[in-house]
């Protein structure tokens, strides 16, 4: 069921069993798991069903560190969230991403890859992938032309990516949410404050506001914040009525460890002979179903003591004319979303060109996606300036360490060595990588729009904000959903893992005790 909260009588009180704050990928995924269950779920979305520049303006903030995308357009504030301009890239984290790595400070998850792996299957379905199988050998059985370059797999491995259509969660799952009898979607219901009890051990309600000037209160047994990494942190920090430093922030960890992937062209590879590289084909909107990227084996990463990374082969004649993401992404959120509609309309033209493509090239650029080292000084804090709903704005300080640049250089050197060893060809590093003493970054460095890490998961409250079930330490009934819980970023695009982790969270929530005097207020649905 759907209600526009602007139409409610002011100071309405809404009650449910579970209150989900934010209807992006994580929020909608979580709500879908409760469809046709006995639980009454309140799903709160600050925006409406379309991108609205007035709502996007609420996301405006300051970026004071490494150059980043405009905050008012990097995330989308409407039903469906940032899936509205998502590219559809899907991949799983690697087992090494979950391990404690001595050379990566603050690495280690309190769960293992094997804990999350079962959820990738259903996650793949939600983003409309044909399979949850990401093994190279499986994909080679689907197409004999997917021939890998003869790298030694003990050194250079192939990591498969699949491409979602992309699934626009706001469109694809709107009906399922709205038509579910036990899911109560409220749009124009932005949560601006979370209210705890006096001891700050339990959340009683959240305060909702909208641009129509209405305020409401939502009560529930359990609350889940699913607002994206930046805004999960923002909400906790802003909820400082009972906890002066913000909720869950006794140890000053909320907002810290902000991570994104470092994405840029970093080297070129010249193949010895022109050959088929269909396995590594560039991504073409709605046409490319899967491709391989190169990554170093776990043992090689360990030996070199570097971060995880992948490199995609982009034909150099395309790379030369492709502007860096950081220079081409617009602050116009609406325009960014509409741009995908333009791409969709032009698909037939691209497809005609693509049909003739033989995938035989010799010279490529390596588009690299590098894991960021968890850094407590890379963080989201709050500004004194407030938005139109009175909530303090975000200050982002995206901060990198020396490990990133050293990792990037070593990664490409290792691929260069292996390219020579296996007689594949030769690698040429970009000029800005040549000086080992130079820790600065070129203007082309951009993130992947992957906001990660601000309410990180850990095995103790001294190291993280949430426990292995994404529950905020010290607060019985408050959970975080999404990539804000990731302790490390890995090198994979995070959307599939966001969904997998959320599915795991939903299993946990369903196992919790809902039986208390909340029953009489929320009403059970058979």
């Amino acid at each position: 069921m759907h209600t526009d909260a602007r139409t409610l009588e002011n100071n309405s009180v809404i009650e449910g069993d579970v209150c989900i704050i934010g209807a992006g990928v994580a929020g909608i995924t979580l709500a879908l798991q409760f469809v046709n269950t006995r639980r009454k779920v309140i799903l709160l979305e600050g925006g409406g069903f379309d991108v609205d520049m007035e709502m996007q303006e609420l996301y405006r903030g300051k970026s004071i560190g490494q150059r980043y995308y405009p905050l008012q357009s990097a995330r989308l504030h409407y039903f469906g969230g940032t899936s509205g301009h998502w590219g559809g890239f899907c991949s799983t984290l690697d087992p090494i991403d979950f391990h404690k790595r001595e050379w990566v400070p603050y690495s280690e998850w309190p769960i293992q890859y094997s804990d999350l792996f079962p959820y990738y299957r259903d996650a793949s379905r939600l983003v409309e992938l044909p399979t949850s199988n990401f093994d190279l050998e499986y994909w080679r059985t689907t197409d004999p032309e997917l021939i890998p370059l003869p790298f030694n797999e003990k050194v250079v491995k192939h990591k498969m990516l699949q491409f979602s259509p992309p699934t626009r969660f706001g469109k694809t799952y709107r009906d399922a949410i709205v038509e579910a009898g036990n899911i109560f979607l409220y749009t124009h219901a932005k949560v601006v404050d979370i209210r705890a009890n006096e001891l700050v051990t339990n959340i009683g309600s959240v305060k909702v506001k909208n641009m129509a000037g209405k305020e409401h209160v939502v009560k529930a047994k359990y609350f889940v914040a699913a607002c994206s990494a930046m805004h999960n942190a923002r909400l906790l920090l802003a909820s400082d009525t009972q906890a002066k430093k913000g909720l869950g922030n006794d140890r000053d960890l909320v907002g810290r460890f902000f991570m994104d992937h470092l994405e840029m062209m970093a080297s070129e590879i010249f193949l010895q002979v022109r050959q088929s590289v269909k396995l590594y084909r560039p991504w073409v909107f709605r046409e490319t179903k899967a491709r391989a990227e190169l990554r170093l084996s776990d043992s090689e990463q360990s030996q070199l003591q570097i971060l995880n990374a992948t490199a995609a082969l982009m034909p150099n004649h395309i790379a030369e004319t492709t502007p860096a993401n950081i220079n081409s992404f617009s602050s116009d959120a609406e325009g960014n979303v509409k741009g995908w509609d333009v791409l969709d309309r032009n698909r037939p033209m691209f497809f005609q060109r693509w049909k003739k493509e033989k995938f035989r090239y010799k010279h490529f650029s390596f588009f690299t996606r590098l894991e960021q080292s968890p850094n407590p000084d890379s963080r989201v804090t709050l500004d004194g300036e407030r938005d139109a709903l009175g909530m303090r704005r975000v200050i982002l300080n995206w901060k990198l360490t020396d490990l990133e640049k050293r990792s990037l250089r070593s990664f490409h050197e290792a691929i260069g060595l292996e390219a020579g060893r296996s007689e594949v060809g030769r690698v040429k590093l970009m000029e800005w990588l040549l000086d080992e003493r130079d820790h600065t970054w070129p203007d082309i460095l951009g993130g992947g729009w992957h906001n990660i890490g601000t309410t990180r998961m850990a095995d103790s409250p001294s190291k993280g904000v949430v426990d292995q079930h994404c529950r905020v330490y010290g607060i019985d009934n408050l959970f975080m959903a999404g990539s804000s819980c990731f302790p490390t970023s890995g090198s994979a695009n995070p959307t599939l893992t966001i969904i997998a982790l959320t599915l795991r969270l939903s299993d946990h929530l369903k196992s919790l005790d809902f039986t208390n005097n909340m029953e009489s207020r929320s009403g059970l649905f058979q």
Binding site: K362, G416, L417, R426, K428, L429
Partner: protein
């Protein structure tokens, strides 16, 4: 008798040249120092630049005879198979050098250096 000596000398020379050529000695042909694998990727100008970059890093090797000795051994033998193997072994052993961003085997870097010296000498005339 004079004719016999002359003809015998020519005959022995021919046999000697044939044997020498068969063994890979080439005193008469132009010594092509282009790195074979790399020249499938780079043009001559790039090879020259790489050679120059190597010599800047290792100025003590700016000597064609020394480079030839390093590359070809005591005899000026051109043995392509040996180089291909040497290059591969260099990569396996991590004997590489980065020249203007290019990750190259030391052997092929020296070949570029020699190519640079010899080609520059040729153009000097």
């Amino acid at each position: 008798r004079r004719s016999f000596i002359l003809l015998s000398g020519l005959g022995i020379s021919s046999i000697a040249v044939s044997i020498i050529t068969f063994l890979g000695f080439d005193f008469f042909g132009d010594l092509d120092s282009r790195p074979e694998s790399l020249s499938q990727i780079c043009d001559d100008e790039t090879l020259m630049i790489l050679g120059q970059a190597y010599l800047k890093l290792y100025p003590d090797e700016r000597n064609s005879e020394l480079l030839m000795k390093e590359l070809y051994g005591d005899f000026a033998r051109r043995r392509r198979i040996k180089f291909k193997n040497s290059i591969k072994l260099d990569f396996h052993a991590g004997k590489t050098v980065i020249l203007n961003g290019w990750i190259l085997s030391v052997t092929e870097a020296r070949q570029c250096a020699l190519f640079n010296i010899l080609t520059s000498s040729t153009y000097a005339y």
